[in-house]
């Protein structure tokens, strides 16, 4: 019994660790969808910022600098996406895919140029994000549940709450939501809709930068080619499930965190790694099918 509790605690802990990057990315996706910018370049943005977080840390060994840089990079990319979609009226799917293709090439290219390697770089001397000390919880179940998490993991939860306040309680959030509901109506009152859309999405891009740091400087400090592994798309699905609500994103990203943790746990069973890797993707489709399918059937009645 004791064993199973500590086992569950470990599952809980890895769920938290897997969910936070998805949560942060879906916070950005939430702002994008609320302001009517359909951004599927999240994946490429995440990959690039994860790379830059690692690169800067490797070169300068300054965690603040690397987090700042990752955030900046993510914002820049999100700005480009928003600019192409909103200002130049580009097809949002194509813009997003272009960014993802580019990011894939760009990170691999830099990996080659800077680290002279393909695949994986790691440096054991490299410091990751500072971990939150939970020694006051002792060494029992609670410590297992909440231990080994970085500052940014905790920050992700706070940021979700903060985003809720911003989007639903402040004037700025009110306007962003209005713009998303009816951009023409907002424009008719003289709001510069495009400017708002670009600004809101660009700023929210910063969350992806934080998520990128979690990937390459979080529980492990290494960069692997294509380290984002479709988390950007999963976050898109998570955001779809919660309809862009920041608190809902907590729940939907927890779902995906849990399925990833599940795949991890089942590793030592009869199922092979390759099949386990499918679980989060299947869960994504299943969750969306159940949620949207029920919605659609309800609307019919």
């Amino acid at each position: 019994m004791n064993l199973s509790i500590s086992y569950l605690a470990a599952v809980f802990n890895s769920t938290l660790r897997y969910m936070t990057p998805i949560l942060l990315v879906s916070l950005c996706a939430g702002v994008c969808s609320k302001s009517r910018v359909f951004n599927i370049g999240l994946e490429g943005t995440l990959l690039t910022s994860a790379f830059f977080a690692f690169l800067v840390q490797y070169k300068f060994r300054n965690i603040y600098l690397s987090v700042g840089c990752a955030v900046l990079v993510a914002m820049c990319i999100t700005f480009i996406i928003a600019f192409f979609i909103v200002k130049l009226n580009g097809h949002s799917m194509i813009v997003g895919m272009a960014v993802n293709t580019f990011a894939m090439g760009f990170t691999t290219f830099l990996l080659q140029v800077v680290f002279k390697t393909k695949g994986v770089v790691s440096d054991p001397t490299l410091q990751g994000l500072p971990k939150v000390d939970v020694s006051f919880l002792g060494s029992g179940t609670l410590a297992t549940m909440f231990g080994n998490l970085t500052v940014l993991d905790y920050a992700a939860f706070l940021l979700a709450i903060l985003m809720y306040v911003i989007m639903y309680k402040t004037v700025v959030g009110f306007r962003i939501r209005c713009i998303g509901i009816n951009p023409d109506a907002a424009a008719s009152l003289g709001i510069r809709v495009q400017r708002w859309q670009i600004l809101a999405t660009t700023l929210s891009g910063g969350f992806i930068g934080l998520a990128g740091c979690l990937l390459s400087l979080g529980s492990v400090t290494m960069f692997i080619q294509n380290i984002s592994a479709a988390r950007g798309y999963v976050a898109l699905a998570a955001n779809n499930l919660c309809q862009g609500h920041p608190l809902g994103a907590l729940a939907s990203s927890a779902l995906f965190g849990f399925t990833t943790a599940l795949a991890q746990i089942l590793q030592n069973t009869a199922l092979r790694q390759q099949l386990l890797n499918c679980i989060p993707y299947i869960a994504t489709i299943a969750a969306m099918a159940i949620f949207n399918g029920i919605e659609a059937r309800k609307a019919k009645k």
Binding site: C178, N182, S188, L189, G190, A299, K301
Partner: protein
């Protein structure tokens, strides 16, 4: 003089939309700008609200020349506009809609209490009753318009522009609106009313400008003029009165039996039974949103009813597809030409051949014969005098009226026994709409059945041999031609009762 447009000229490409227009507005007066669709009214309106810049000419506010680069600039000078298509945030509340852009705040937070208080105060001051916490999506059209007006008053507008405000309202709502305008003028606001409905003009206007094909053709004080004179000035000739000869009706070609539709938790259609016989035009009158569009889509097969039957040429087609219904003999001019009725990025040929793409001679064993199709499209263009450079131009390149003509041409030339027309002349000029009306009447003379659904009451009363009135998804009245006047119909449309 609070506001003035001086020698405004506006070109769109090579087309001249406004030719040297000069108008002025005095404080506290109600000024009307009348003209047909396409006379240049809406361009003038867009210029004075900063949505378009004039090619030449100046705008003066209180004697000072100004430039409006966008609606913000216009609003900063106290000009607000009630748009024809409401500009509201559907899923938000009335109060939230009104305060947008000048939100009461507490620090960075939205102050909801102050918001409700401000909105209630405003609504009382101008005697415009609303429920601040109701959601817009649950408000009827008249109420939405009231929200639009309050929104503009909240922005401290001195000049309020109304763009065809009565198009969506019932006669009784129109009366209330005109009363509101008078009260606003009495409270010192200056009002510009842009419309083509002359009886409304005569009811409220102090002064009237008449526009025709981009030019200002006359300025009149209300006392000096009459509807007849204004109509003459607008059109340039006296309107022809239409004689509609009686036609013998044949057997029932289209009927519904106790049609019901339950959607989003309410009955959008309840037990609707109508019939249309060969050789008659049957009109469905009603305020938009009372089930007409649902009736349309159930009859043409885009939506399945929850109960009842649709009969086409004597056959039960309730569970048949759109395709089968069209094959059996139904054509349909849709409510919205660009949303449903056509593909803007398709060529005129492609748009013209829809629903005939499976038929000889246009289709030979699955392959389309381009030549035949182009010929056919060309014949539609010619017969309905659609202004286009040819069958290969895109539908999106056409003006609204011409696109509507093409859609109407396609459906009328299907030569089916049943034609359903929904808002066949919405937003098009008198010439084009006369043309379409004539084609509808020709169809009737041939012995075909026409179902006409329109929110334009005058269209219904002129064309229909029989009229059904719809209210909240039910048929609440049935009249033969001439048995009832527009006022009584309007009352029924709002759920009132009349003595038969």
């Amino acid at each position: 003089m609070i506001f003035e447009l001086r020698n405004i000229t506006k070109y769109y490409g090579d087309t001249l939309a406004n030719d040297d227009i000069s108008i002025h507005l005095n404080e506290g007066e109600i000024l009307c700008v009348v003209g047909e669709n396409g006379a240049g009214k809406s361009t003038i309106m867009k210029i004075l609200y900063g949505l378009e810049q004039p090619t030449s000419g100046e705008i003066l506010v209180k004697g000072q020349p100004v430039r409006f680069r966008n609606p913000s600039d216009a609003m900063a000078h106290g000009i607000g506009m009630v748009q024809q298509h409401f500009m509201l945030f559907e899923s938000l509340t009335v109060a939230e809609n009104i305060v947008f852009k000048r939100e009461p705040r507490r620090g960075p937070l939205l102050d909801k209490k102050a918001m409700l208080a401000a909105v209630s105060e405003l609504s009382e001051r101008y005697k415009l009753k609303i429920d601040p916490s109701a959601r817009i999506e649950n408000c009827p059209v008249g109420l939405r318009q009231r929200v639009e007006i309050l929104k503009i008053l909240y922005q401290n507008a001195e000049i309020i522009v109304f763009d065809e405000p009565s198009a969506v309202l019932t006669p009784i709502e129109v009366e209330a609106l005109l009363q509101t305008m008078k009260e606003l003028a009495a409270a010192g606001k200056s009002i510009v009313l842009i419309t083509h409905k002359l009886n409304e003009v005569m009811a409220v206007a102090d002064r009237i400008y008449v526009m025709r094909s981009g030019k200002l053709v006359a300025e009149r004080k209300k006392e000096e003029t009459s509807t007849d004179e204004l109509a003459y000035l607008m059109v340039g000739h006296h309107p022809a009165t239409r004689e509609i000869p009686p036609v013998k009706t044949g057997e029932t070609l289209l009927a519904t039996e106790e049609l019901s539709l339950h959607k989003d938790g309410r009955d959008v259609l309840s037990k609707v039974s109508i019939h249309v016989d060969g050789g008659e035009v049957v009109g469905i009158a009603g305020v938009s949103g009372n089930g007409q569009s649902e009736l349309e889509s159930v009859i043409n097969g885009l939506e399945a009813p929850t109960g009842g039957k649709v009969l086409l040429c004597g056959r039960d087609v309730t569970h048949e597809s759109v395709h089968t219904r069209r094959e059996l003999g139904m054509a349909h001019i849709s409510e919205d030409r660009f949303l449903w009725g056509g593909a803007v990025s398709g060529t005129l040929s492609e748009n013209a051949i829809m629903a005939k793409e499976e038929r000889e001679p246009y289709n030979h064993k699955g392959f389309l014969r381009k030549k035949k199709i182009t010929e056919y499209a060309g014949s539609l263009i010619e017969r309905f005098s659609v202004k286009a450079s040819g069958p290969d131009s895109l539908l999106g390149e056409l003006s609204g009226g011409n696109a509507q003509k093409l859609v109407a041409a396609r459906e009328i030339m299907m030569e089916t026994p049943v034609l359903i027309c929904c808002e066949p002349t919405r937003g098009i000029d008198i010439g084009a709409s006369d043309f379409i009306h004539n084609e509808i009447l020709n169809k009737r003379e041939k012995g075909d059945a026409v179902l006409l659904i329109s929110s334009e009451l005058s269209e219904i009363t002129t064309l229909s041999d029989r009229i059904y009135v719809m209210f909240e998804g039910k048929i609440v009245g049935e009249f033969n031609r001439g048995a009832v006047d527009e006022k009584a119909l309007g009352l029924l449309m709002l759920g009132g009762k009349i003595d038969a």
